[in-house]
Subunit: 428 residues, 2 copies
Amino acid sequence: MSEPLRLGIAGLGTVGTGVVKIVRQKAKLLAARSGRPVVITAVSARTRDKDRGVNLGDYAWEDDPVKLATRDDVDVFIELMGGSDGPAKAATEAALAAGKDVVTANKAMLAHHGQALAEAAEEAGRVIRFEAAVAGGIPVIKALTEGLSGNDITRVMGVMNGTCNYILTRMQNADLSYEEAFAEADGLGYLEADPELDVGGIDAGHKLSLLSSIAFGTQVNFDGVELEGIGSVTIEDIHQAADMGFKIKLLGVAQMTGRGLEQRMSPCLVPDDHPLGQLEGGTNMVVIEGDQVEQVVLRGPGAGEGPTASAVMGDVMDIARGIRVSTFGVPAPALEAARPAKGALPAPYYLRMTLADKPGALAKVATVLGEAGISIDRMRQYGHEDTSAPVLIVTHRTSRAALDEALGAMAQLDVLESQPVALRIERV
Amino acid sequence: MSEPLRLGIAGLGTVGTGVVKIVRQKAKLLAARSGRPVVITAVSARTRDKDRGVNLGDYAWEDDPVKLATRDDVDVFIELMGGSDGPAKAATEAALAAGKDVVTANKAMLAHHGQALAEAAEEAGRVIRFEAAVAGGIPVIKALTEGLSGNDITRVMGVMNGTCNYILTRMQNADLSYEEAFAEADGLGYLEADPELDVGGIDAGHKLSLLSSIAFGTQVNFDGVELEGIGSVTIEDIHQAADMGFKIKLLGVAQMTGRGLEQRMSPCLVPDDHPLGQLEGGTNMVVIEGDQVEQVVLRGPGAGEGPTASAVMGDVMDIARGIRVSTFGVPAPALEAARPAKGALPAPYYLRMTLADKPGALAKVATVLGEAGISIDRMRQYGHEDTSAPVLIVTHRTSRAALDEALGAMAQLDVLESQPVALRIERV
């Protein structure tokens, strides 16, 4: 049996504690599978005096994660502190400079600094692994980078924020308003300190930008992700979509088009008989499409101690086994700068608007759509109580640019009672 | 860039041709991802003069796969001939003895000779990879062996024979009898030359035995798989199951119990709101449960040129990248002999029988069940035309042994018009 692989863990929250438990409880299994003992030598966290339900007495303690990352008795630096910059980035850079491999669950750090960190790692001959950063326990980074590496990837899609999917599922199943479902999720502790990270699509957008890089061989470009949160989705939208055989999901989509790399994270309608439409609660799903494999769907828990620690340990075990793959699937200098697509490929859209109850209001809206070259597939005006009339329109395939032009023109009319909601209907 | 990785391909059917196409068309992509050129140097097949729609003129030809497997200019022997013994096994053994790595799609060979071949490979310092042998394009071997290696795997389940799932789905959706759906699948060329390999569960059982070995660190033990085909499932069963919120699937289940390793491949009832119940047509699905990751579900095409070639290429790319993992996840000598469980863990069962239309028939059946310690959850006697009465019973949890005892006792009564059908209701 070879030399032990020595881990230094920075960050002892839920995930860090979970990793400690696995390493302590499964020593024999991990050694049998990897061919060498996997041990923890040092740990670091903000507070030392806290009962984490796990014995840390065997490990050296460092207050400073940078010191931990550069210790002589650490082979792999495990970064579980979070935050795109600050200590997480400083310690990761220090670890790579000191010749350590790095395992991290930090999607924000990689979304913002992935290219620079990958270059630093590869120059130092080390690896950065981040299975836990995307879709929790689902081994999707491995599937995309390794298992499907014989494919030209044509599209990657995913529901990768469990909190948003929980909110949307609760609205649907318990007939709650967005505000009610949000409050429920908040009460259960599902929301980040800044809820906009969840419901604004930022967290899921970080994840999508990492998948894009691997799928298309491009430099991580989080700024190129079109972000739209779920705050504009109403219970009426969910009911209307259901009537037409759709579910509304915060869906990430990345595809390479003739006009550049398209990356979107936005609420979309998806067919309710596709696994994406059937996905309920906090579960995550990633759909990978390749020219050879057609469509592979991966589903699993997107968060939680066990699942996230499982992903971290998958990376640790790879390092223990000597598996070393470029961070984003090809050497970092070979990653091309992403050229963001101007606008998404055409699609049908779902539109909801409230019209003033005036003669000719609907005709004016229809005219504006026609003038923008958008044809209407279905239109429905439904029951209303006062002087405003909710109207639902499903368009045929149109560019988002034409749609935005039409929405702009509509705003000039004096018939809209509120800002229209436009949701893409994604082909799956 | 390193030395080229040189492939020798034996078997140029659908999958072999697909692999040739990928290597020819994606040379640049494969080299960028793996860090070295991936090239074919030699091929072999039963007939040389056949238009396969792909140019083989650049490659040396060998009539004898053993010669191909041992050529000096071959680094990786790709075995796509099939068959558990004969030329496939001879050539694989020759390749390993000559110091070649092996990639194969041959589930039958590995189900019968996996342990010996793994030992031979590891003694020679080579690897055998077989992603294409299980669940087509789904990278499930990689997920289980590597991505989830921080887990104690608690259960693996799968729908892994697309033909059976096609037949069952067509029965359900088009209200066909088993015979009609079978004939349809046959007409579409979905069935093996010996259909029993498909509908008897043998092919899927081979796959399950490979997953079991990795999941539980045991030697492949196909003989330990309890096999039951789908031939006894009727359209009535499908309707009755649907009424209760279930679908019938040919489901493989492997789990380690206190009484040994349980491996079953049999038609089961699964809830229609679980991804297993929602799986339609020829698509495959594997469900992996671990103590950390909870439940991960992988779904994708189970057969076809592109998906299977994608899996073969995933293995080739791993070898090109220097990824070398023990065949079944731990070194072959460390795999324990599987101790097959005597009988499956208890579960509820669905029973269908036809009773002679005599007074007291149902009471006799109920008495027999009670005497075997089996309590009845639901019972339904439904409309009938002549003198026989179809009866449906759902039991509470019971051992299969108790059930078989009851079925044996029932056969002694003079009230059964035909052999009862018993299907397990699997908890998912």
